[in-house]
């Protein structure tokens, strides 16, 4: 009896009940849907392109672009090819996004922690900031920063300055900057490596002091010399150029951050930070009350409670959603195009408009943002792994 159904060969009911059949069937259905959708869209694309007498191809990227770009991280002249123009756009996007992510982390975490402050004013400011900024569209905020904040700075003739170190006018912001781009990168790298080295030295010193109750002098000395070395390198080794106001308006020397750039950066940072602040707040709240109480009963000061006990545990909750905030910032950077910052979307728009190749240009754009977001995800996943509970 048990072999009845299989003996009779094909049995529909038994097959429909068989999980293995459904596993395969779902795969097949998915595949068919995928192929149908793809062929529909590709066929539609093909039909439209034939109708307009166009052929798909990326050869146009080698043609000279012919338009100029306001600012660029790499060398660019108007008769360079389109691919280089797009490269300039990508460079501008990257400068905006990297600075944006770094500053967003600082501002967002600070605002998030401030919402736990016992200081009434600090607490209220943090809450008001989040409430206000989160509820206004980013595009409006971009225009606000561009026209209402940086647009009201004085003209170059009456520019204002900060102890002759930084200059502000309605063209942009001028700050001290290392003499060459290579030095600037070196400086940033040195800071990063120094910070990591200092962290491990500090941990080593703490461990020794916990174990023996004393000592750790060599480590303290190493830390001090590391700091001194970094300080010397950063002050003397960077060939700093300082902006100088010119009689009658204008600035020479230093690094000019165009008004478009600072406005885009400010808007992106303050917008995204509001979300980050909420994520940080949620992360801190997810740490149980017992942890706070336990830390306080050990006699830790409030600052140390946060730094040593609560925040490290909150990180587990904070990091995953931070990933999507960083990706949002990256994608939102394309809105900077509305206030004339020549990032990649802006350059791509000009490119497809001049060449009449929206499909190809949009494919390039989509691939670019996809790759940027994947890189962010990769880094954040590594970070996430590092802060998870280690089962021992």
């Amino acid at each position: 009896m048990a072999h009845d159904s299989s003996d009779r060969g094909f049995d529909l009911k038994a097959m429909l009940r068989d999980e293995r059949f459904w596993k395969i069937a779902f795969q097949v259905i998915t595949l068919v849907v995928v192929i149908l959708l793809l062929s529909f869209f590709l066929g539609n694309l093909n039909r439209n392109m034939i109708q307009q007498g166009k052929t798909f191809g990326f050869g146009f990227l080698r043609n000279p672009a012919g338009f100029s770009i306001g600012e660029s991280a790499i060398k660019y002249r108007p008769n360079d090819p389109y691919w280089r123009a797009l490269g300039v756009g990508l460079g501008n996007t990257l400068t905006l996004v990297t600075a944006g992510i770094a500053l967003t982390t600082l501002v967002g975490v600070a605002a998030g922690i401030a919402s736990f402050s016992k200081n009434w004013l600090l607490y209220k400011i943090s809450r008001a900031y989040v409430g206000l900024v989160r509820n206004i569209p980013l595009l409006l905020q971009l225009f606000f920063w561009y026209f209402a904040i940086y647009g009201t700075l004085p003209k170059p003739e009456n520019q204002i300055h900060f102890f002759d170190l930084a200059y502000f006018n309605n063209r942009g912001v001028y700050i001290p900057w290392p003499g060459t781009a290579v030095l600037a990168l070196l400086g940033i790298a040195a800071l990063g490596v120094g910070a990591i080295a200092a962290y491990y030295l500090w941990r080593w010193r703490t461990n020794i002091r916990i174990d023996r109750g004393t000592g750790g002098l060599p480590q303290t000395l190493a830390l001090a010399s590391l700091g001194l070395g970094l300080l010397l390198f950063l002050t003397l080794g960077m060939k700093w150029t300082i902006p100088h106001g010119v009689e009658g308006g204008g600035v020479t020397g230093g690094l000019r951050l165009s008004r478009e750039y600072v406005a885009a950066l400010s808007a992106l940072v303050f917008y995204t930070s509001a979300f980050v602040a909420e994520i940080v707040r949620a992360g801190i709240q997810s740490v149980t009350k017992g942890q706070w109480e336990a830390a306080r009963s050990l006699g830790l000061q409030p600052g140390l409670v946060m730094r040593l006990v609560v925040f490290p545990q909150a990180m587990r909750v904070i990091i995953p959603p931070m990933n999507s905030e960083y990706m949002n910032l990256t994608k939102n950077s394309s809105l900077a195009f509305a206030i004339a910052f020549p990032e990649i979307y802006s350059v791509a728009t000009t490119t497809y408009n001049q060449t009449g190749r929206p499909v190809e240009v949009f494919l390039i754009l989509m691939a670019t943002y996809l790759i940027l977001c994947l890189i962010i995800t990769l880094v954040m996943n590594q970070l996430n792994r590092a802060v998870q509970f280690k089962e021992r």
């Binding site: 849907v33 109708q51 307009q52 100029s68 306001g70 026209f147 509305a338 004339a340 728009t349 000009t350």
Partner: protein, 354 residues
């Protein structure tokens, strides 16, 4: 099982998302406004009973929306003329405001039937972008607006200075060409939106604002202190502006082309919206053909034979349109100049209606 279902759903979603973007990039393939292979736009417009015309909507004198939401201007009147010719009703137009980067994709995707939006005729747009250019309705040149007290007399003075410009325009390219020729290093500040560009110029982000001269004059009138700004005595380029249709649709292109020519021809004949009825039953065979009383010029094109009657009666001839919107009867008082009829030393010339 559940995992598989989720996977299928996720795949479907991603695909839908990808597909969504692809279709926007190729600007659609469905809906009533999409081009149907083998079917002319002319039939689409007739069936719809309405012309969808892409305009700028922000340039006084060319296409401008007033407080009551009504469109007016030279470009708008061209839309009205085509609607009058095809549908017999100059008001059977739906206007779509397009910015300079949207316009070609909107046209190619069939979102609009035609553009009447200060579009410069260039060989690249004609051959590579896939457009057909109807006769030029306004011969313009690129100019530069500066503040009166800026001390700038010519393009050479722009070394290290900023110029605001609208993206996706020929002006953006011409500006670069001119400055390259002069070896002047300037800073372009490129806006997607003309309103933002003029706002930035007005509050001092840029020393100069460049665009077609007619547009600069028109826009200057909307600035807070129009008298503080002057146009430099420099013409950077030829800017022939006119209506545009999409490639590979001769029947529709012919209609737009000949309605535009008809506007010039009516002026040449001296036919205006006021006196057109006195030309009825004219002994002049040229006029009789033009107004559809003889021959089959209109029906050959798929229109009513008296399509030009409907156009001129409702919209007027080119001279009337010009004077009303940008010429003597408008606030701008632009000279006819190159835009006069060829018989008056201008460039407006229509091939014979026969």
């Amino acid at each position: 099982m559940r995992k598989l279902g989720l996977l299928a759903a996720a795949l479907g979603l991603t695909l839908a998302a990808c597909g969504g973007t692809t279709t926007t990039a190729t600007t659609g393939g469905e809906g009533t406004t999409a081009p149907v292979a083998g079917k002319s736009r002319l039939n689409v417009v007739k069936e719809r009973g309405k012309l969808i015309c892409g305009v700028d909507g922000g340039i006084p004198g060319f296409s401008f929306v007033d407080e009551s939401g009504k469109y007016s201007g030279l470009d708008v009147d061209v839309c009205k003329a085509v609607a009058a010719a095809v549908l017999g009703d100059p008001e059977a137009v739906e206007y779509r405001r397009l910015d300079s980067t949207e316009r070609f994709t909107a046209l190619a995707g069939g979102e609009v039937d035609m553009l009447s939006r200060n579009t410069t005729w260039t060989i690249n747009r004609d051959t590579q972008v896939g457009l057909e250019f109807a006769p030029t309705t306004f011969y313009d040149g690129q100019g530069m607006m500066v503040r009166k007290n800026s001390g700038i007399d010519g393009l050479e003075d722009f070394e290290g200075k900023a110029v605001c410009v609208e993206t996706g325009t020929t002006t953006e390219l011409n500006l670069t060409d001119q400055m390259r020729k002069l070896g002047v290093n300037f800073e372009p500040v490129v806006f997607q939106d003309a309103d933002a560009a003029y706002a930035a110029y007005d509050e001092g982000r840029c020393e100069g604002m460049t665009s077609d001269k007619s547009q600069l004059v028109a826009r200057r009138s909307t600035l807070p202190n129009p008298d503080d700004h002057i146009l430099l005595e420099v013409t950077m380029s030829k800017e022939p502006l006119g209506p545009v249709t999409v490639n590979n649709d001769s029947a529709w292109y012919d209609v737009v082309k000949w309605v535009t020519f008809g506007l010039f021809q009516a002026e040449e004949f001296g036919i205006t919206s006021a006196n057109i009825d006195t030309f009825k039953g004219s002994n002049d065979p040229n006029i009789a053909r033009f107004l559809g009383e003889e021959g089959t010029l209109g029906t050959d094109m798929g229109l009513n034979n008296d399509f030009m009657y409907a156009v001129v009666k409702n919209v007027g001839n080119y001279g009337e349109i010009y004077d009303r919107n940008v010429g003597a009867d408008s606030q701008f008082k632009l000279e006819r100049g190159q835009n006069a009829l060829w018989t008056d030393g201008g460039l407006m010339y229509a091939p014979p209606f026969r």
